[in-house]
Symmetry: C2
Subunit: 534 residues, 2 copies
């Protein structure tokens, strides 16, 4: 499904103005978030930091959708960008999804497919160009820069999906903390930890850590592709930014790799075991919390399911992108089961809905997932939903649509806690079979319950862990002792290629000398003997 | 200083008998410790586990020095081995040290040096042969095995310096926890985590993580040497044991790599940053605790130092191995400083002791290191002492003598918190200079204070962390989700050699086909043209 997992949400840009509101007490944290679903996570962390007495300042653009200018728990710096490139995120993704589905279902031509991807890569490039433009706006605005300097921030906290914050942090000589899963165009680990392609599945390649030979070949090709996209399409924009303000001696990639702490939004109940680094802190599921009682209307509906319980369905914000013929197949399958169904649905209603199915525009997902009567969760496989379902021990029927959703569902499928349905081949029959398998085969529920137990079995709640390490960086002015500098080595030194070549040369030389000496001795012996024989 | 860091303490062996005392409540933990200084650490962990209500059973040999048969906090299984190989550990190491010093100081011949090391490797082989023999004794004793099975242990906790416990755990199908820094003949990380020789210093090679080209060459050679010693001298004994009881399909090294949790006795305040794995838990300094008041006699001596404060000196258990001419040089230097000195000393007293120097056979090291009047610690660089000094923020004058002591001191020296003295070149003059530098240059103390702050800045005390993860394994019957199975891959698959060869072959084939096609086309074109020209 391509190489743009967790596709950072698009920046909206107009002509320039700004606002900064400095404040009080505790640490001072400058935040560079990514808009959209990423902001949900970041905002949660900011709320906790604010509650601990820290002063948080968020950098936003004038046209941010989710990131409000005024909020009780943070100040904001609003940057208005000079060129208008309005990209309506939701519509963009919906169009993207519809095109993807069409290509996959109708067997479009290879050329069409390549052309379509080329378009996507162009958009990706444009997004990062605009994000790097945010850096220019900040650096060029002397009043803003002075105001930021005067505030004397302790740390820069950023979502490196759009990593312009590391460049600003370098200018301010401040330590950096990443709230991260996806970085530029790949998974965060690949930038900072050894990632052998033989057992670490690449982003965009939905396989487990146990691969066949063919999967390993594909995995290596994915690695090469991801690296090329990252270096040539994404990083180049930030390289130019860094080059403009710091000269050729500073390397953007090194700034990225030099972050003090990586708050990684996964844990190893979800992620496959893989090498890691001392400065990676796992905070997967930091948004999870116990459920609260439902509204009386919802509770009544749920209770009416009796012993059969209920099913929850939500395909995230893109749900209105599903064609009616697919939602009709799903509705028909739902109509045949004795369970009640709560379906978060936006867009045209299928006309074959069963009496057991309630469509809602919004629902208290966490409270429903924590309800004792829930039997299964039909989900697209976004990280937040997956973690909430895991936290509450609810097995998943996965209908992944885009980006990392395939990999996310696969991680649960590999643990026997989910089953994936291919949306391009979905019909009433196979969807019903999958539903009934998940509902009636207790192994899915038991496996998800085990994941839930393991996920909850931590010395500290992941959100507290995130706050702890943020404060650690503030207290200790960084965490350089946890961070390797090895990324600064030349690749041939890092991989010991120079050392191996040197040792091979020495070996060859020694062998050469030995062979030459033997030849010389033989020659001398032969010459001595010959005269005697004559 | 060779490849036998943390040289596991020698097993004492006679003819067979055993004893097992089963018990109550909580988890049931079967422990395979290593005797000597390693036992001090393990015993501390066992005490905490016992205090949490777990039942601990320790496997010991009939002639253990430190591991008592009866203790209030554990039961024991005493195995008496059939063949008598009494190796007096202390004397052995003292003799070893004296020989080493003589070789280094008097410039002995290379052949003498090689011969001496050969002897050492022979002894290492013998120790592991005897340790693997412990496995045979346990497996052959049907009553003991039945008794162990009947106890229904939850987990095997072992110090993999002598790793026979993993073989027993495999037979019992139990999860394993390592209390580890050294494993068979190397550092634990090298067995379980990627360890690029370009920035991860090998055991036996006292360099930092920033190496010159020559150091990187040496580091790679150390890696090769360590691997050879491990595979051919150490593991071969356990391979035979595993082969005898489980057949050729079970690989001893895989048992070692398959441990559920590695409680690693370092942290990254001490260790250089390096790749790690999700199942490695860092418990460095888990023995550290606040100091308690001194005896009135010691307090009086310490207070008499006035504003100058006092120096502590201890070279561990091997102190009596230092020749009198060296201890006399040290004593002479001490006599020239205004500070008081407390020197833990066994053996012949130097006759030039100053009035400020008190020799003691034993001292409350932790309480003295935590005393406000302490100025510096003269130490050999064993891990326990180094961590205690770091915990209390006391700078170190390191006189490393054997094994990992060089690397340990180097780790503090690289952080500007210690200074190393070469014992083979030590004289009154250079020792005094080093002393005065450490006492009067505040940077050493400040740097050590910073390390102390960083070391203490953890969400949980390392001992509690160790207990938590032990209980985690008991609760969850292992921690397989944190453990990679990649070690079971063939080396060429792990390093993607097969995939790269395949892709190169495909590339060559494609290029071949292209070149052949072009040649063929040219040939056809030429043939068509020629007739026309004719």
């Amino acid at each position: 499904m391509g190489n743009i997992p967790g596709f950072p949400l698009l920046l909206l840009l107009l002509s320039a103005s700004l606002l900064i509101t400095p404040g009080v007490q505790g640490g001072k944290i400058l935040v560079f978030p990514v808009d959209g679903s990423h902001w949900v996570n970041m905002n949660l962390l900011i709320q906790s930091l604010h509650a601990r007495g820290h002063e948080v300042t968020v950098v936003r653009t004038a046209t941010s959708w989710y990131i409000k200018e005024n909020a009780p728990h943070y100040h904001s710096i609003t940057v208005t960008l000079p060129e208008a490139i309005i990209l309506e995120e939701q519509d963009f993704f919906v169009t993207f999804l519809v095109k993807m589905l069409a290509i996959q279902r109708e067997g479009a031509t290879l050329i069409g497919f390549v052309k379509f991807y080329w378009e996507i890569l162009g958009t990706l490039s444009k997004i990062h160009e605009q994000a790097s433009r945010l850096g220019v706006e900040i650096f060029e605005n002397k009043t803003l820069m002075q105001s930021i300097r005067d505030t004397q921030f302790d740390v820069v906290l950023l979502d490196p999906g759009l990593p312009v914050g590391v460049v600003v942090a370098h200018e301010l000589k401040l330590p950096t903390i990443f709230n991260v899963r996806w970085i530029t165009s790949g998974e965060g680990h690949f930038v900072v930890a050894p990632s052998p392609t033989s057992y670490v599945p690449m982003s965009g390649h939905a396989v487990s850590d146990k691969m066949t030979f063919v999967q390993r070949v594909k995995n290596l090709l994915h690695y090469v592709l991801n690296t090329c996209i990252d270096r040539f399409i994404v990083s180049s924009h930030y390289d130019r930014l860094v080059n403009r303000y710091f000269g050729p001696d500073v390397n953007f990639y090194h700034l990225l790799q030099g972050a003090d702490i990586w708050l990684m939004r996964v844990d190893f109940v979800f992620e496959f075991p893989r090498p890691t680094m001392p400065n990676i802190v796992y905070i997967g599921g930091f948004q999870c919390k116990p459920s609260e009682p439902l509204s009386s209307e919802l509770e009544e509906f749920v209770q009416s399911s009796g012993e059969h319980g209920f099913i929850l369905m939500s395909l995230g914000t893109l749900v209105k992108g599903l064609p009616l013929d697919i939602t009709s197949e799903i509705a028909a399958a739902f109509a045949q089961i004795p369970q009640k169904v709560i379906w978060r649905h936006v867009g045209e209603h299928p006309n074959n809905l069963g009496n057991n199915t309630m469509l809602v525009k919004w629902m208290p997902q966490n409270d429903l997932l924590g309800h004792p009567k829930i039997k299964a969760f039909v989900a697209h496989g976004g990280t937040n939903g997956v973690y909430e379902s895991m936290y509450h021990g609810v097995p998943i029927i996965g209908i992944p649509l885009l980006f990392d959703q395939f990999e996310n569902i696969l991680r649960l499928e590999a643990r026997g806690a989910a089953k994936m349905v291919d949306v391009t081949k979905l019909n009433q029959q196979n969807f019903l079979e999958t539903l009934q398998d998940i509902i009636h085969n207790p192994s899915y529920r038991n496996n998800m319950k085990r994941l839930s137990d393991l996920h909850r079995d931590k010395p500290m709640h992941p959100l507290d862990t995130a706050v702890y390490w943020t404060e650690f960086v503030i207290r200790n002015k960084g965490a350089s002792h946890l961070r390797t500098d090895s990324y600064k080595m030349r690749w041939y030194a890092y991989y010991s290629v120079d050392v191996i070549c040197f040792l091979l040369a020495v070996l060859l030389l020694v062998m050469g000398v030995v062979v030459a000496s033997i030849q010389f001795l033989c020659f001398r012996l032969c010459r001595r003997r010959k005269p005697k024989q004559e």
